[in-house]
């Protein structure tokens, strides 16, 4: 019966919260939410670790490049020089297997992958790619979706119908299949393609970024358009129209500030989703392409080593779970902080 409490507390809330900046209020609520704060700290920690990848790599790489194969190299295990690729290390003590975890931070802490690369180092570099793609595609997605939603909601009528129907169609398209289609076509041409002045190389991190950003546009478009529609007929917009404000000013100074909170609530959840999608596409080998690595590609490489060297797969998976979990928890916290009585409760 929160409705009753709300009704009652309206006069009561006045002295404490009325007239305060809503962002300051939201920040205060978020600061009180210890779980959300812990999630934020965890996420920032992962970001910092990934950004520091070169520092760590400098320490461990045989030739300063963690990403290049090291089939004939050696490393120190308990002070002894040991080959990175070991004969008879396979399932039946046959064949060649990469070295397992040494639990020594500067010497193949988590062991090596199928071509002798340091998994711990890959993990940090993979984190860079995964986070970069996750964050940039979520930003691209939110910006595009918000712009389209603003135009559709503001102009309404035929513009709205056409744009919304278009979004419905992209929405109807299976997410992974759409991404796979675009990615495979780009991959068939390994030199990359030229669209106008834009050169997209198949191996560039921007290829998965743009693909992932594009496929999720309708997921952000729908709630934001709903928000635009609820604002567009409010009195303050009419007041601005009466003052002779231009359409551009109306959209950007009157309506946009009122939908920003919706976008901010969606943002962490979108980053979580895009990171998972990137991992899935990379696992299917249509995401990040060599020589780049991401958490998804490391798991893909680890598939073949699953029963002999499980840490190659386990470690990046744990990183993905921690990152996505922290973002989801943070997303919940941001939503509760910005809109304590939110309608949108989907994670």
């Amino acid at each position: 019966m929160a409705a009753v409490a709300e009704q009652v507390s309206v006069p009561g809330l006045r002295p404490a919260t009325a007239g305060r900046n809503p962002w300051a209020l939201a920040w205060r609520r978020l600061r009180r939410n210890r779980i959300a704060l812990a999630a934020l700290v965890l996420f920032l920690l992962i970001v910092v670790l990934s950004l520091a990848a070169p520092l760590y790599a400098h320490d461990i790489a045989h030739d300063g490049n963690v990403l290049s194969p090291n089939l004939n190299g050696t490393t120190l295990v308990h002070g002894k020089l040991t080959p990175v690729m070991q004969q008879g290390g396979g399932v039946l003590k046959l064949g060649e297997a990469p070295i397992g975890p040494t639990w020594d931070l500067s010497h193949y802490f988590l062991g090596a992958d199928g071509i002798g690369r340091d998994v711990a180092g890959l993990l940090l570099y993979g984190g860079r790619a995964s986070l970069q793609i996750g964050v940039s595609s979520a930003v691209i997605c939110c910006v595009v979706a918000t712009l389209v939603a603003l135009v559709a909601g503001f102009f309404g009528g035929l513009t709205d119908t056409i744009l919304s129907r278009l979004m419905d169609i992209i929405w109807a398209f299976p997410v992974y299949l759409l991404a796979i289609s675009i990615a495979t076509v780009l991959l068939t041409k390994s030199t990359g393609i030229q669209v106008g002045f834009l050169h997209v190389s198949a191996t560039s991190l921007w290829t998965p970024t743009v693909i992932i950003g594009f496929i999720y546009v309708p997921y952000v478009y729908r709630p934001v358009r709903g928000q635009v529609l609820s604002v567009v007929n409010k009195e303050f917009v009419e007041a601005a129209i009466a003052q002779g404000a231009s359409n551009v000013r109306l959209i950007f100074s009157e309506i946009l500030p009122n939908v920003v909170s919706t976008v901010i609530v969606l943002m962490p959840l979108m980053i979580a989703t895009t990171i998972l999608t990137e991992a899935a596409l990379s696992f299917l080998s249509v995401g990040v392409q060599p020589p780049n690595v991401s958490w998804g590609t490391i798991i893909n490489n680890g598939q073949a080593l699953l029963y002999t060297r499980p840490w190659v797969s386990l470690a990046p998976g744990i990183m993905i779970v921690l990152t996505v979990l922290s973002l989801n928890v943070l997303g919940d916290g941001v939503r509760d902080a910005l809109d304590p009585r939110a309608k949108l409760r989907v994670g």
Partner: protein, 361 residues
């Protein structure tokens, strides 16, 4: 309506019938507060009210005065985990606040019926209205589906729904607001309750429909002998139907008496303000409708003394001390204002509405 004879309530569990002399429903020192982010909100602050068999009690006050929360608490319908309750609610001698969930359920809908402010949202949108009424009947009485349906159609006819047999199979969104409120009323009286609590039943409706709904409630009371508690912020509605009136302000009852006493001899300055804000056609048109200056106080930081003092034009030193709801007249008319009756009369005559006293019958 005449065809609808109140039925015996066979085998209903619950408290024994009231003994003569005790009121049907008695609220004793009820306090309700909500813990919020900004502190404890005292929504109801020590309310005493009684409802006698067959009478209509009007509870008047601004939004946030605690009138709805009071009656919701009577029904134990406030499920907010942050709510705290104190005090007693005696229904036929049994304390509702102390009953088990099963016991209170047998009283909800059967002994005490309730209708709500917004008929648009108070009915479940996915069920036919007939189903929703029959559901309540079958919850409280052992009855076949056919019998419950026949009863439902009878009830819908009684509240003035044309083609009731057909309309029973319509969904709530297929009715107008007024018709939906009629459905709500039919549902609330379907088990012949002793008390009908109507929480702002006309607020969400058009003015013309309001009169019809109030007329319907009055008619039900006459036909069934049901006691009615009418919660409203509209003095006009109370003047129409209430036998007794309680005026609430900031979670407290500030004045209580018969309709005649409260309307023709109001004792509390807040009541004067409420009466002054009614537009009247039989008086010279005022330049503008009188309004009570200021805002209701914060329910978190209630003043220690009279809660109305800040908005009152007649405050004096004693107002810093909390006024009890007392009988200051020698009749059943209670009020919570420190002014002496003589002073009140004088001030009222002189300043607020001289015409009110001139017209004493």
């Amino acid at each position: 309506m005449a065809g609808l004879i109140p039925r015996q309530r066979a085998g209903r569990p619950g408290p024994p019938p009231a003994t003569a002399g005790t009121p049907l429903l008695e609220i004793r020192d009820l306090k309700v507060s909500f813990r919020t982010e900004d502190g404890l909100v005292r929504a109801v602050d020590g309310v005493n009210l009684t409802v006698n068999e067959g009478e209509t009690l009007g509870i008047v006050g601004e939004s946030g005065s605690g009138k709805s929360v009071t009656m919701m608490s009577v029904m134990r319908l406030i499920t907010d985990p942050n709510a705290q309750f104190e005090g007693q609610v005696l229904y036929k001698g049994a304390d509702l606040m102390a009953l088990s969930q099963d016991q209170i359920r047998s009283i909800r809908g059967a002994g005490i019926g309730m209708i709500f402010q917004d008929p648009m949202t108070s009915l479940n949108p996915v069920y036919k209205v007939g189903w929703q009424i029959a559901e309540q009947i079958r919850e409280h009485e052992t009855m076949s589906k056919q019998a419950a349906r026949a009863r439902t159609i009878e009830l819908l006819t009684a509240v003035g729904i044309p083609n009731a047999a057909e309309r029973a199979d319509s969904y709530p969104h297929e009715f107008s607001g007024g018709m939906r409120q009629r459905v709500m009323i039919a549902m609330a009286v379907s088990c012949n309750p002793d008390v009908l609590i109507a929480d702002e039943p006309t607020t969400a409706l058009d003015v013309t429909i309001q009169a019809q709904i109030i007329g319907l409630i009055r008619k039900l009371r006459e036909d069934f002998g049901t006691a009615v508690v009418l919660i409203t912020h509209d003095m006009g509605v109370v003047a129409d139907v209430a036998d007794r009136v309680a005026v609430m302000y900031a979670g407290r009852v500030v004045e209580q008496g018969t309709r005649h006493e409260v309307f023709y001899d109001p004792q509390h300055p807040y009541t004067w303000g409420l009466l002054g804000s009614i537009a009247r056609l039989d008086r010279p048109r005022p330049r503008r409708l009188a309004a009570i200056p200021g805002m209701p106080p914060s329910l978190i930081h209630l003043p220690a003394g009279c809660a109305f003092a800040d908005r009152c034009g007649h405050r004096f030193e004693r107002c810093a001390e909390r006024p009890e709801l007392l009988n200051r007249q020698g009749t059943g008319h209670l009020d919570a204002c420190h002014l002496t009756p003589e002073r009140k009369k004088e001030v009222r005559d002189r300043t607020i509405h001289p015409e009110l006293v001139e017209e004493k019958p």
